[in-house]
């Protein structure tokens, strides 16, 4: 994260805590992109991603006084957002994309190989949200948010070794499913 952003965050947080609500807009504008994108990795639905991110921002506003400045604001923000998104995903577990739905997308016949490749890629990304939460969260932070292992560990509140193990296991699960999808797709094509 650029140093200027960190300084701007700190300045805006101090203003918000002093009662200036408008200063929160600066935080929202700087972090709306990363937060909506992070939410999208959880639910794979743009409309819901904005709802998730909005709730995360409201939670950030409520908890702003709890940020101790020991961790970077971004780490604290993402940790809080991941908790909000997890809880939304738990509540909406009925709407969550199942592995079977995901396979359905992959087996959609497509005459163009580029379209097939795109479908496969989309299928795999959707599969991430069907993984058990501990693997899903680690993969989302590491791949989609471009965090390194240490940052992901801070966000998830677990040791770096645990994140590595979860990434490894998560990749294994995804790879197995990817192989299955690649095998299934041509068979289902008429």
């Amino acid at each position: 994260m650029p140093r200027t952003t960190a300084a701007e965050d700190k300045r805006d947080i101090e203003r918000v805590l002093a009662g200036d609500l408008e200063a929160f807009q600066g935080i929202v504008k700087r972090w709306q992109g990363p937060l909506v994108n992070l939410a999208f990795r959880f639910c794979r639905d743009e409309g819901r991603a904005e709802e998730f991110a909005q709730d995360a921002f409201v939670r950030v506003f409520r908890s702003l006084h709890q940020w101790r400045q020991e961790a970077a604001f971004s780490t604290w923000l993402f940790a809080l957002a991941v908790n909000v998104f997890r809880s939304h995903m738990r509540q909406a577990s009925g709407i969550e994309v199942s592995t079977e739905d995901v396979r359905g997308v992959a087996s959609t016949p497509s005459p163009e190989s580029a379209a097939i490749a795109r479908d496969t890629a989309d299928t795999v990304r959707r599969m991430v949200s069907t993984l058990p939460p501990k693997y899903r969260d680690a993969l989302i932070l590491f791949y989609f948010l471009d965090q390194d292992v240490a940052q992901a560990a801070d966000c998830l509140g677990v040791p770096a070794g645990t994140v590595k193990a979860r990434l490894h296991r998560g990749r294994e699960l995804l790879r197995d499913r990817l192989i299955r999808v690649l095998r299934l797709a041509p068979e289902d094509t008429p």
């Binding site: 807009q25 904005e50 890629a121």
Partner: protein, 108 residues
Amino acid sequence: MNADQQLERILADDDRVEVSSGFAARVMLAVDLERSRESVRSVGIWQRGWPWATAAALALVSAMGAQALRELTVAIPGVGSELASWCSLIVPLSIVLAYLRIGGFSLR
């Protein structure tokens, strides 16, 4: 390209989602609403809580005062202990009742 490499590429190349133009304004509205709710909650707790807290404190002070008054009136020659008890009860009770009468509107 093997499955591992393909997986790495797929995960790394994920498209970014565009945030809708009114998103920040919606968030600020939600935050403003949340702040209003919080202030209503805290005012509500304060408005409901302070009369009871004051009444409890008044009752405690009155009870202590009643005991002291009783001891004082008993020591006066010619005043019976029963009368002393009544006096010491009536004075603090009057104070508490007066308070409840005045603050009664907020005790409902």
